[in-house]
Point group: C2
Chain length 228, copies 2
DNA sequence: ACAAAAGTGTTCTCAATACACCCATGT
DNA sequence: ACATGGGTGTATTGAGAACACTTTTGT
């Protein structure tokens, strides 16, 4: 006897994306303004329903691509949210994803969605359980940032040590000692110091670094811990 | 205008439970033998579909209760698995949960499901993507075990220091030094040494401990890290 | 000359590790 | 008396944290 699925309940399942960016100073989040009821005009995460022919990962990539035009975004699945009344109009489950994108890439944000970057610490109240999703995503981001130098995805190709420190300070909402930070990063041995300097921030100028992708991937494969 | 959901696809969504136990020596997993096609007779995780009137958490509790008769089991949501062909007969999404249960509680395992405890390290091959689910669950269990003394759920009320060490060795698949382990556990200050001894393992007998639930909860609230 | 940010090393402290002997008891 | 597992403390090492002055250069 083979299972007959016809009378099992079926559900609407969406994905919602927590999109993080970094502007060199603060951690940012990309939010969209609802243009339909309910809660029209309020801010929310970008989301969409999972189709019959796509996985949740694919749906999240599609949703992000629709909004930003970017392909192959760094995405990680977070949690499922299945409260029955989490949306007022229908029972909709949602799988959340967090995305890391480099703000400097010239993103063509689709104007249809009235999207806007907010400082993570100064974001508006969101609809439904999206505030919870963001909180969970920040926790995951912090955890992830101790396992691998997340900066790869959030920083431009070339960046200063200060940028990197600012990023970690923004992620963990803490201040670090400049010397200890530099020492620890250098001990990791995944950065390459270029000959170039960024002259915009000071008279002296500060050296630009890039990630050594090969060393970086090797470290990850070996499983390293990156505690600041 | 309000959203009309009628032509969005709807999906079958299941929960699958990775049920861990501990017998004092080895980490165990409770598996069920399929009694329907496809893959009848093979071993799998216990699972079930999410109904219209329940959250995924509730569905997981229900599934576990059906199998073991236990209520209020320690459960934690893990991941969603949404590969389109993860089951051959229909597109079924699954949200995995891991459960920790104390094997000593006299569990009435529902015979309908031909369930059996296996050594985690010596378990049979599972159907579909259930092997992946178990692997992911073990990783999460390890992570969780560094955040809180998981033993609470997996050990009987009273246990010896050796039991606790065996548990951690089973979870991390490593051996620890007896003195260092004891020192570290005592430093945590969450155990109470009782006057009783377990005489079954040696002539001398070994003291039994219990968790100090109050101190334990206080520590968790303060957010402690428990690295062995 | 001075202001403003960049760059750089050492000391101290504490936690993690390694390690070996005596104890209590049933046989 | 001896065999078996239980129980205990110390010394060493290494990593993380605290900490301040010099350098460069545009104005």
């Amino acid at each position: 006897m083979t299972q007959d699925y016809s009378h099992f309940p079926r559900h609407l399942v969406a994905v919602d994306c927590i999109i993080f960016g970094f502007d060199g100073e603060n951690l940012k989040i990309l939010l969209v303004q609802r243009n339909f009821e309910p809660k029209m005009g309020e801010w929310s995460l970008m989301g969409g329903f999972i189709g019959d022919e796509e996985t949740s990962d694919e749906a999240a990539q599609r949703v992000l691509n629709t909004l930003t035009g970017l392909e192959n975004i760094y995405l990680e699945q977070l949690n499922s949210y299945t409260q029955i009344d989490r949306e007022p109009t229908a029972r909709i489950m949602s799988i959340s994803y967090y995305a890391l994108i480099n703000i400097e890439k010239n993103i063509q944000i689709n104007e249809k969605y009235s999207a806007k970057w907010f400082d993570l610490k100064d974001r508006p109240d969101l609809i439904f359980d999206h505030n919870d999703m963001v909180k969970d995503a920040v926790l995951r981001l912090r955890r992830r940032a101790t396992t691998r130098p997340i900066g790869f995805e959030l920083l431009p190709k070339k960046f200063t040590m200060k940028d990197l420190q600012n990023l970690y300070e923004a992620i963990f909402d803490e201040k670090y000692d400049k010397r200890n930070f530099t020492n620890k990063i250098n001990a990791l041995d995944v950065l390459v110091k270029t000959a170039e300097k960024d002259m915009s921030s000071s008279k002296k100028g500060s050296f630009l670094y890039t990630f050594d992708e090969e060393k970086y991937n090797k470290k990850i494969a070996e499983g390293f811990m990156f505690k600041i």
